[in-house]
Subunit: 309 residues, 4 copies
């Protein structure tokens, strides 16, 4: 958190059929539906999140991610980072407070891979869902489906990977925690995992010919048993499975990938390595890409590099 | 246990390279190497097994299963079942005590699917490995690899499935616990899971054009976390993975399949349903075969029906 | 199952306040409330049980167990065991079919420790709760509380332990799987764990000066994670905890003990050793009783030997 | 990490018998013994730690903690915090580089509760133990005992709790994540949990009449199954158990407490809540202290407030 960026704060996803999407994110993932706005957007959160919401579903004609937002420490940090982005050469758009219900002013910019990211300093805090702030119980009893605890990160696909890494690390203070490098090709970087915390990634990017694509949004589960439970629910509700349960080589998280009804890929995962600012970058070699992505299979499935939204 | 058959007692596997096989079953699966005999066979067991050994590896030019043996209650039961088999029309071979070190007389016969099965009443009992019989600790500290607890069952492929089911249930007292039936084809049975205990299966058969084939031998793990550990070891040691970690629909066991260096498939699994003699047969429909076998993927992988040894 | 006794089939518990008891067994343990009868009794079951019900709550002025019933293979077995009991010198009472809704004729007798046990051959079978018999899903989504899967066993306290063990083993075909013996006192037996399956116990007895006491009824959970979940629910709902989460030395089950609102002790547990008819008895020494009961603490808590109902 | 303090970097413990202590921390906890120095001190680390070591055992006549050290971002941060401490009124001692093998200059100071804490910026980095930095496997196979992954935090007892909290938060940038408050006594604070990361605590303090006492050092495990494994090892090796397996109310970590042979308390735990700088303090009320500490029992054991080293 060298530059005051704290964590992934929200993501806005485009969905083709809103009610089907709500079933997916609320009843299957187990996110809490918090509110809807006059644009018809649905706001949800994981039960452990203190902020009022983190996932926004917007009805649209095409699936994908509108933007991902990061919460910063305070208004002063927001102003400073805005100026840094402008100085870096970014076009910066200011979204007024309230455009998303309960969220303060947002600074939106496009990174070289084509994705729209945002910074914001204020969002209504409603506390963890279902437990008291005072003498809190361990968990609430009324969770649904996979009982996802929080929006954790997103994996984004785009072309100018090096440009985005430069912006994220030098302007916003992200740390490169893990990467995939092609040592036979001048250390060409294929993937970059970036963090502002001790988590292995708060956002990740993979090189891809098209700009601005979403590979998946990811939600945290407590245990490998919960990953099994998620897999069972995927089978019971006939949800399209991508791969899993399995483990990633990168970050070593325990994971399963599946698709929402609009074709946006969803991940739930548990575990995963930790990192600190003084830790060296963990590097996977391009010729080990299969194992880096799917540790047990040691080869990519046909979807991983091609199916995005 | 209507007819005194207690449990799977042993399996003899053919392996192409003995020392590579020992690494697989001892160091990766974590079976205990107990002894070797003057034929060059290696005897192993899971640490919870009371009998002296359960898995025998025999060097051979072709992979596969020589025979699977079931332990019966006592000598009287052995004699009675021998006569029943003869009366049923089986050719019965008597293997003298000591042909396998520490094992009493064995009655060998071929079932209609072409597999050689055995019954025996006596085997040296050496107790659980690594814990005392008196005031036993929960588990021994020096286990290796996947820490497989016991040889649990085998899945066998062959042609005359109905013939084998008839023999196993009517002559040997097995119970049909689960099956796959093609309802569009005169209830043609594709798979039969058989038990003499409350386990979902002590042996299983799948219909297949060739006689006498082995799909896999299976070993029990305590938890789904142990299945993950097994998957990690498979990756670390670059063992050929078939599929998993996943869950079966049939029995609902939590499982992973992989191959020994000779091409014999190995399963380790945890969980699984229980059954009793008064329970109805659990039936899966042929058009749900994918989900019956691989509950999460809901489709067979290309190996499942074709790769056997 | 040498004599056709299959499994614990039911237990009838006396409770002081019926609705409080229903909250405990249905909403906290997660048993399914199946029906109530015209005597005001409530019938429940664990979701994996095929029979219509297994736990009966009867409003009464004093807590405790009315009787525990075991299901036998068929009517012929029931008749044979009835005669065996009479020949052994037991007074046998025949309870007509329908006295418990959906249950066939029951044979009731008192064992030397003072407990009333029953045998029965018929009970309505309604299948697992919440999943289809055909192509069954792994588990139902609508389970409550601890999601107990089945009534598993009971631990009973009484004086003439040897008398009860003799009856259970010689007349009813139970196997002594584990015991506690005082080697300094002529191998005086303090505890006996008895099974008719491969489970470490289907019923257990501990020597105690009073006749006919209940130590606890026990319900099976799938995993150690479920034991934690149970412990959390105990804390959240302020249920009186006896001890746990911990492990037993005897059977090595992973366990937690707590009390229903009437003072009947309840156990939920996972894991546990398996046994077969040819396995030697596992013996714990009396001077290791603490570790035998509570493996981690290695000493009894003050309740274990004194608080019964 | 508002002021550049990154994480707990080391703790030096006094032990009465060095070799017994090494058995405890290396063979039971599963820390890696890294080296010994010419003062007879033993250096150990958890396998996931990048720095060369984190736990130092020093032979002494009395058990307890000599000091706990925190790693800061860089030398400039070290100098700045040193000056801040001096400005705050602390007496600051500079320990030259190399006094602990491989560690740079350390700044030592005493907090108002009487404990000696240190800051340092440099320590030799040897990487995770047993896995490569490049294409790292998920875990190393040769871990011992409880397989503790890292030194995680310490709980310290002392008198001037408010003084220490003021220093830790205002001078060193720690965040108060959780606390216990006596609302009937002018919000008198009994316990303070402090973090410089998203972990629920990097160090914690409880009010106690004596200065400078150690309640426990704590080491991270991956799962609740690993807590069970730790409990089993405690039983197998007859290690004095304090309490557990259980869960804390504060932080909700899953835990077990036991003692090293010198009487220093050790904790291993899994799970635990996360926090961010904008999160409100989680407060437990003094009249819920039992549940705050031991969530399942909801009462303190007799050792918790009295046994320290």
């Amino acid at each position: 958190m060298r530059k005051g960026v704290m964590r992934p704060g929200h993501v806005q996803l485009r969905v083709l059929d809103l009610e089907e999407a709500v079933v997916h994110y609320r009843d299957r993932l187990g996110l809490i539906e918090v509110q809807r706005d006059d644009q018809g957007r649905v706001y949800l959160k994981g039960w452990t999140e203190i902020d009022a919401w983190s996932v926004v579903l917007r009805p649209a004609d095409e699936a994908g991610m509108d933007f991902m937002g990061f919460k910063v420490l305070d208004e002063a940090t927001l102003e400073a980072r805005k100026q840094d982005l402008i100085d870096y050469g970014c076009e910066v758009e200011t979204i007024p407070a309230g455009e998303l219900d309960g969220c303060g002013e947002r600074i939106r910019f496009q990174v070289p891979t084509g994705h729209f990211l945002e910074l914001f300093a204020e969002k209504e805090q409603t506390g963890k869902w279902g437990v008291h702030e005072n003498n809190p119980e361990a968990w609430p009893e009324d969770l649904k489906g996979m009982k996802a605890t929080r929006f954790d990160h997103a994996l984004l696909y785009g072309d100018d990977l090096d440009g985005t890494v430069d912006l994220m690390t030098n302007v916003l203070g992200f740390q490169l925690s893990e990467q995939v490098i092609d040592r036979d090709n001048d250390d060409f970087r294929l993937a970059a995992f970036l963090t502002v915390s001790t988590k292995a990634h708060d956002v990740a990017f993979i090189r891809h010919p098209e700009k601005g694509k979403l590979h998946h949004t990811s939600y945290y589960l407590d245990t490998w048993n919960d990953v099994l439970r998620a897999a069972d629910l995927i089978a019971m509700h006939d949800i399209p499975l991508d791969i899993g349960p399995t483990r990633h080589g990168l970050t070593h998280g325990q994971t399963i990938y599946f698709f929402d009804p609009s074709g946006n890929r969803t991940e739930v995962f548990a575990g995963g390595d930790y990192t600190y600012p003084d830790h060296p970058v963990t590097t996977w070699d391009a010729d080990k890409l299969g194992k880096a992505i799917f540790y047990h299979d040691r080869e990519l499935n046909e979807n991983f590099l091609s199916v995005v939204s």
